[in-house]
Amino acid sequence: MRQAWRMDMNTSKFSRMLLAMAVLASLSACSGIEPWVKPYERDRLADPIMFLDGDPVSTAYIQHVFEAREGARGGEGAAGGGCGCN
């Protein structure tokens, strides 16, 4: 019973998150939000020391080790970067 309730909650939470993301994406298409960090101000973010996942093979391996040794999984961000400044 508790599992069924949690699965409903999970589905509901995920749906709400998807909806929020869709709204955000549609806003981006029509909004006139000015980037507050200009492209020419992103030199520090483009430095390789600022990459969230600079070494994908190593990141995959060490996450693999932690998932094998612990009961938790996910949420650590397979998708990295995103500054558009490479």
């Binding site: 093979v57 190593s58 094998a68 996910g74 961000g77």
Partner: protein, 378 residues
Amino acid sequence: MHCYSKKTILLLALLLGGQSAVAGVLPDDRTDFLYHRYEGGGVLIDGPSVLVRKKVGKSVSFVGNYYVDSVSSASIDVVTTASPYSEERKQHSLGMDYLRGNTTMTLGYTSSVESDFDATTYSIGISQDMFGDLTTLSLSYAYGDDIVGRSDDPLFERENTRQHYGVGLTQILTRNLITSLNFETITDEGFLNNPYRSVRYLDSSTPIGYSFEPELYPGTRTTNAIGLRARYYLPWRAALQTEYRFFDDTWDIRSHTAAISYTHPWRDFTFEVKYRWHDQTGAHFFSDLFDRAEATTFRGRDKELSPLTSQTVKMSAAYEFLDDGWSFLDRGSVTLAVDLLHVDYHDFRDIRGSEPPGTELLYQLDAYVFQLFFSFWY
């Protein structure tokens, strides 16, 4: 079948398909040769991992990965309930990224094969750059199908299916600070326990006071994880990263994970130190010692499902070479990384001694994880 494969095929498929999810820019062409080695608690796992990524034209990038785990296990589970064993797992992955404007679409496929466990995963993802490339939104989905066997029973065959839903948001907040928020839900259905593992229960008819019976897990599991990372550029050209993850599942495991790392370049070297802390509650059907045989509907004694606290210290050093390029290569680097892992189990006892059942010392694990890898960009 060792415990690595079942949990992590999906992760690799998503990493290969999704690590390129920097919308608007395809990932750099690169090749990595990694040697990995895990040693601790009577287990030795090592092998290579080779990744090749190459653009074709301006809109498509392909990636392939070949990964091997060579396992030699005499872990505490194995020596107390079974016999030491050796085996090998081979994994192949392929992925593709397609860039169109500010949108990147990814496809991934991963296959893992070992003597008694086959796993196949398909993944798809999409990323979108927004707000002048300050924000990247990514969505991902993966479907996994596993076949579980037993090396001592050729007729034994069970199936698992797994579905993964992921949402990620990467956000530049200032010229020195980038953050990412990731939410992942994973559902499993099928045969989720290890076919070889046993639970122990009190049995006064035996000289040692307990006996063993096979594990029996629920047939479904749904996990939720939300993780936040922030990386900050320090004034003297160094980086500080903090991470936090909250995890919760339908087996009543709830965990908090936090980490902090510092990256410091010096000449052609880059050094990194990291501390990671993880604390979790146990699964509702976990017990180190059940009162009697078949005491509960579901039962497990996998130490990873026990309440536990783990701490990891990482040190790594990378050296860059070929700064001016050579032949078709733009640059290269070699990296050495060591992680020291310590785990305190709060309800899993070391039964190798002769103490009365339930009074044995709690088990502790110390392991080291070694990585040496060469990377080339072209």
